[in-house]
């Protein structure tokens, strides 16, 4: 074989020189690496019947403790360290006769603020979509609670770590692309698990078919989330406070705020210096170091 075939000539080298950074840049922008490769969870509240089978399936798969009577239908439950997903009844504030069940869990933000806040990088966004807490690394500082726009993480007082839904990431690749436990348990197809772009397409299709005032939550909230929820009406009517539409975890914002602190610090230093020069006695300056 000709040895020359394996060599990189100048033209090829130039191509690589231009191509590799372009590829890397595009990847980081997120155009190439986009919705086609991530998984997402669709929650269709128009179909949810509030049976709480998703809750019990979640508990069974993840080995969580059942606390008292939280699995009874229509019983108000809060997210806890042993309750990674809850189903609650919400009333429409404009029309009290209209009520809907809401399936609430970690929304798996595309740019998770919790991961940006964690001081020891215990929280990671997996390439497949789940936002996962490494419980062996979590120091229990609860800064992620503060950063989370949906207030999802909960502290486990026994294990002294933070726990939350991880979209059954241990189930997805291991068992031949099985769905998360809650999705597999849903008897009415209110939960759906697929590639993210398929999920968005399906959500839009359902909303279009249903008409009315349906609202898709998760497309823009907190910069987009991998759990997409179809609400029967806008979130404000249901008493839900939606996260700001801009991306929460912005490093530029953090730098801006810290810079304000530095400016305050330099201002303080300047004030102290001015105070020192103005009030220093002549006697004192005579005692200063001669050298």
């Amino acid at each position: 074989m000709d040895k020359r075939a394996n060599r990189i000539d100048r033209r090829c080298f130039l191509k690589l020189l231009a191509g590799v950074p372009t590829f890397v840049a595009l990847r980081s922008v997120g155009i190439v690496y986009a919705e086609t490769r991530r998984y997402g969870k669709l929650v269709d509240l128009g179909r949810c019947i509030g049976c709480k089978r998703c809750m019990s399936a979640c508990k069974r798969w993840n080995g969580l403790i059942v606390e008292r009577d939280e699995l009874i239908t229509d019983r108000e439950t809060d997210l806890t360290a042993n309750n990674w997903t809850v189903v609650n009844l919400l009333f429409d504030s404009r029309n009290r006769t209209r009520k809907t069940y809401i399936h609430w869990a970690c929304q798996h933000c595309i740019k998770p603020a919790c991961a940006g806040a964690c001081p020891v990088t215990a929280i990671t966004k997996l390439p497949g979509g789940p936002v996962v807490i490494n419980e062996k690394k979590c120091i229990g500082c609860r800064y992620c609670f503060q950063a989370c726009p949906f207030k999802v993480p909960r502290f486990d007082f026994e294990k002294r770590v933070t726990r939350k839904c991880h979209m059954c990431y241990d189930r997805i690749p291991l068992l031949n692309y099985m769905k998360p436990a809650c999705v597999a348990a849903c008897p009415v197809g209110a939960l759906l698990f697929d590639y993210k772009d398929e999920i968005i397409r399906e959500a839009k299709r359902r909303v279009q078919r249903r008409g009315g005032s349906s609202y898709i939550m998760g497309l823009t909230e907190a910069g987009g989330t991998d759990m997409v929820t179809i609400l029967p009406t806008i979130p404000q009517d249901l008493g839900l406070v939606v996260a700001p539409e801009k991306v929460v975890n912005r490093n530029l914002d953090k730098i801006r705020i810290t810079a304000a602190g530095f400016m305050g610090a330099s201002f303080l230093t300047a004030l102290m210096y001015i105070y020192a020069t103005l009030t220093r006695d002549k006697q004192e300056s005579a005692h200063e170091d001669p050298d």
């Binding site: 809060d78 806890t80 919400l90 009333f91 940006g116 806040a117 964690c118 001081p119 020891v120 990088t121 215990a122 690394k137 979590c138 120091i139 229990g140 500082c141 609860r142 800064y143 609670f145 503060q146 950063a147 989370c148 726009p149 207030k151 502290f155 007082f157 026994e158 294990k159 002294r160 770590v161 933070t162 008493g239 839900l240 406070v241 700001p244 929460v248 975890n249 912005r250 490093n251 914002d253 953090k254 705020i257 810290t258 304000a260 602190g261 530095f262 305050g264 610090a265 303080l268 230093t269 102290m272 210096y273 020192a276 009030t279 220093r280 004192e284 005692h287 170091d289 001669p290 050298d291």
Partner: protein, 455 residues
């Protein structure tokens, strides 16, 4: 063996001479510390739930206590840097007391946050192994250890000469302990054991330490090194506290904390806390001991009282600005109304504003003009109480407001009994450490450091 122990105890007791009131005070504080330790032990044995069990309010009184104590430490560091960094010699005499207070407050503040963490040891390990450069908390964990080291070194440099003097004046175990603290005789010992002399000569050739008056044998070396270390500590204090404010201000999901105002607000709070701590601790110590305050120090205290009044009025202005600015942002306004009109309003108006800022300004100005020490003391203690409540409101009020579901009422929060025990244990440990420090360490405001010019 028993005789030896008895002898040992006797020597300790004989060195701790004091009035009955002193023993009562010490035993009271020790009891509180023991109760705090009991609460901690129970939380380790049973569950952390006995300390803080509100699922919706993850940061509670331990965090606010931590912010208060660390802010005090930074403020004390700023006050002592007036003397050693900015060259105001009249402030140099209070350096030792300020730095000792700064050291114990920052250590107890960090232990307060350490007990709040689920896994403090893990925190130290993974902070070093897998850092997250985008997280303010990582910078916090990284900047405080060098700050503590610099503060401790600075204090030691200032206290060394007097420790050595006490060692020569006393005998037996006490002399040994003080000699150890002053590290007296370390240099000849090291020179005998290790080939350090050659190393020292080489180092001197590389860095002209001797010529700059920084060599070990130079005259007034402590003061010169104290200035260098003090500058470093000052810089680290500013860095660490900027990050501390940013830690809260970065959280966009907590509208009350979010924004560029809080890092600046933290500095203001720290600076008046530093003055207040120093005035309160200094005056109380002189009053309890029954000593006369030296004239020089008396003048300085009144001057500090006036500066504190000025800082407090700036703080009041800043608070008004902060609240007014927040009311125009719809996300912040609802939390701010909790403070202005809601369940936090008694604490806000009565303690944070009236007791913490407004009354002290008048009392301080009046007593500085009339030269009444008691007024200064009362006002500075009021400032401290106000600042503690201010930080408590700041941490808790923001979290009480429910963010996701408006249908719920406000989250309720009351410190648990065990939490109160632990916090009072930490505060008692602070007072105990200060009492023992006054007893054993040279904190008195004299001029012990060899001045740079002795020629």
């Amino acid at each position: 063996m028993r005789i030896q122990i008895k002898k040992f105890l006797d020597t300790i007791l004989s060195s701790v001479e004091g009035s009955p009131a002193f023993y009562v005070w010490i035993s009271f504080l020790t009891t509180l510390v023991a109760l705090g330790a009991y609460a901690l032990l129970m939380s380790l044995i049973h569950s952390m739930e006995i300390l803080e069990f509100y699922t919706n309010i993850p940061w509670e009184m331990m965090v606010s206590n931590y912010v208060f104590l660390v802010g005090s430490s930074i403020g004390l560091c700023l006050v002592s840097s007036l003397g050693y960094v900015f060259g105001l010699q009249r402030y140099e005499i209070i350096g030792k007391r300020a730095l000792f207070l700064a050291l114990i407050t920052v250590i107890l503040g960090l232990s307060s946050i350490g007990l709040h963490l689920g896994h403090p040891v893990r925190g130290a390990i993974y902070n070093a192994l897998t850092p997250n450069m985008g997280s303010a908390m990582w910078y916090m964990g990284t900047l405080y250890p060098p700050y503590i080291a610099f503060i401790a070194l600075w204090f030691w440099l200032l206290a060394r000469a007097e420790l050595a003097k006490t060692a020569t004046e006393s005998e037996g175990l006490k002399a040994k302990a003080y000699r150890l603290m002053a590290m007296e005789g370390l240099k000849p010992y090291l020179y005998q054991r290790l080939p350090l002399q050659k190393l020292g000569e080489k180092l001197n050739r590389l860095l002209p330490l001797e010529r700059a008056g920084l060599g070990l044998d130079s005259d007034g070396v402590e003061l010169r090194w104290a200035r260098i270390i003090g500058t470093l500590a000052f810089i680290y204090a500013l860095l660490a506290y900027t990050v501390e404010g940013s830690l809260f201000a970065h959280t966009e999901a907590r509208p009350f904390w979010y924004g560029a105002l809080y890092p600046v607000d933290f500095y203001l709070g720290a600076s008046f806390c530093g003055f207040a701590w120093l005035l309160a601790a200094g005056i109380v110590t002189y009053k309890v001991k029954g000593d006369d305050i030296p004239a020089k120090l008396r003048d300085l205290f009144y001057e500090m009282a006036e500066i504190l009044a000025l800082l407090l009025s700036v703080g009041l202005l800043f608070t008004a600005y902060k609240m007014g600015h927040g009311l125009f942002e719809s996300a912040k306004a609802e939390t701010i109304m909790l403070l202005l009109k809601g369940p936090f309003s008694p604490a806000f108006w009565m303690i944070e504003i009236a007791i913490g800022i407004v009354f002290p300004v008048f009392i301080l100005l009046y007593s500085a003009r009339k030269r009444k020490m008691a007024g200064v003391l009362v006002a500075s203690i009021m400032v401290l109480v106000g600042y503690f409540v201010k930080r408590y409101d700041f941490v808790v009020a923001s979290q009480v407001y429910p963010l996701i579901k408006r249908q719920y009422p406000l989250h309720s929060y009351l410190p648990t009994f065990m939490e109160v025990l632990l916090i009072s244990g930490i505060i008692a440990a602070l007072l105990l450490a200060y009492t023992l420090g006054v007893k054993f360490l040279p904190l008195k405001e004299e001029m012990p450091i060899p001045r740079a010019i002795t020629k």
